[in-house]
């Protein structure tokens, strides 16, 4: 069984990718191929941008099952309409019309169970890709126009090799279902925040979520020096582990901007990353 660590934030742009990528790079020196980084921000996956020379090994097309109603067999009994909780099935007996509205379909299969006349079969619609890179990065990428991001995260997780010691999951921003899907299998969650009112507000939402689903977590404060001190007070009052404090650094921000993060990690950031690496290795019993 792998040990899974998710990196999440609530607010976007706080530094999830920076933390995920630098943590991965540092751990790779210790664990080699036994660690993988999985980019679960399928709407906007960015981790691959920081591995300029990474080669794509292979990819999987991820498809959603969409039912099709064959009107030659359909008796227009409307049982499938009754079963569909998402109002995705339209059946009009008077004009012998039956159709599934793919954009409303959740692929639950209820209409297939409902139909007693074998009039419904399924076809597939592309929702995204899972890309496997030689650097140990696995990335989910949603097809532009698809609204099935949560289903893609779920499918992406099935493509993570089971024999790895450590899996790092870079989560999407927000606190909705796709974030829950990402953190649900994590043994530990690293929350990345920034010391601003927006950062703190969204951090509180994430803390509430993780407590509800019972996940242990700690917080990294990124861009410290910006904003105010309220986040530290919150962590202190709530007894939350402060895993690290990454100072705001314009040179580092500029390197991040051009996609060059791994070659020039400033000392202060490297030391924070080394600290969690050490903690993680201890947790793994290594």
């Amino acid at each position: 069984m792998s040990y899974n660590i998710a990196i999440a934030s609530g607010k976007g742009g706080t530094g999830k990718t920076t933390v995920s990528v630098s943590l991965f790079q540092t751990l790779r020196k210790e664990l080699g191929g036994d660690v993988v980084l999985v980019d679960c921000d399928v709407e906007e996956p960015n981790d691959a941008l920081f591995f300029a020379n990474a080669k794509l090994l292979h990819n999987n097309e991820i498809k959603q099952r969409i039912p099709i109603i064959h009107t030659d067999k359909c008796t227009f009994c409307r049982k499938c309409v009754e079963y569909c909780e998402f109002n995705a099935v339209v059946v009009m007996p008077s004009v012998e019309f039956a159709e599934v509205n793919a954009s409303l379909c959740h692929s639950c299969g209820a209409c297939l169970v409902a139909c007693q006349f074998d009039a419904i079969t399924e076809t597939e619609q592309l929702i995204g890709q899972v890309n496997h890179y030689d650097t140990g990065l696995i990335e989910g990428k949603l097809t532009v126009g698809s609204a099935m991001q949560t289903m893609l995260v779920k499918e992406l997780k099935k493509h993570i090799p089971a024999n790895k010691l450590l899996v790092l999951l870079d989560a999407p921003p927000g606190t909705s279902c796709q974030v829950v899907e990402t953190v649900s299998d994590a043994d530990y969650v690293i929350l990345v925040t920034e010391p601003t009112p927006f950062g703190l507000h969204d951090l509180k939402l994430m803390v509430q979520l993780l407590r509800e689903i019972g996940k242990p977590f700690g917080v990294v404060v990124n861009k410290s020096g910006l904003g105010n001190e309220e986040v530290y007070q919150f962590l202190d009052d709530d007894g939350i582990d402060l895993l690290g404090n990454i100072p705001i650094n314009k040179l580092f921000a500029s390197n991040y901007a051009k996609g060059d993060l791994l070659n020039n990690i400033p000392l202060e950031i490297a030391s924070v990353v080394n600290q969690f690496t050490h903690k993680i290795m201890l947790n793994l019993g290594l």
Partner: protein, 287 residues
Amino acid sequence: MKEITVLSGKGGTGKTTITAALASVAQNAVLCDNDVDAADLHLILQPQVMETNQFSSGWKAFVSTEICSNCGACIDNCRFGAISQTDGLIQIITYKCEGCRLCERICPSSAIYSKESINNYWYVSNTRHGKMVHARMGPGEENSGKLVTKVRRRAREIAKEQQASFIINDGPPGIGCSAISAISGTDLVLLVIEPTQSGLHDVKRLVELVRSFNISLYAVLNKYDINVLVAFEIEAYLHSENIPLLASIPFDKAMVESMVNEKTIIEYLPASAITQSIRKVWEIIKQ
């Protein structure tokens, strides 16, 4: 009435800060926070809530263990892996439940029932810059796209009632269901881009999505001096896509300080160059 939506693809580029700034220069606008999942606009605009509504994000299944025969038919039919059997007992993993109610329908003992998930609220409020429609989604809830549609619909009704000239929407990050719901039917999308490779990569995917709706696009480059070379690359990209770049705003800690002080940048530094740039942006997009 013109509806303007601020989007970015990547999170943290400054959508909300810019939206709040536009709110304080626009006259006769209704404001709407479309980022229902991690809503932040209220932190600057400090709304006084006038109307609270509950939103159901769908159904969740539950088992009556005293009736359940533990036959496992529900497990075989659930495509979401939301039902497990531990020590012979059927259990629903609530956060994995999609709310399709198939298990409820096929259960031979009628031991499964569903409850609506109603831990979501949306509000109509007064702010110093006009009426605002916003929401608070329960953490981990589904259907954020539907809630976006709901707040936007209410914002449009209010705009009609008040004969407002504009609706300004603060959009969600990403390109998935919430972003699609935020784009659909709006009149203009203003992109807030930061000069990073991630920012560029993400905005390209967003532009592809917005183009499929045939909506006009404008851009603002925020924190442009973080990396001037990447900023050039983004300018070239915008040029090739015929997307007008309306302003390049430098990185300035004052943007964060204004947020800490619950003010828009316009209110915080009325005479600054940033304020002037944002006024200029508004003059163009309001046309």
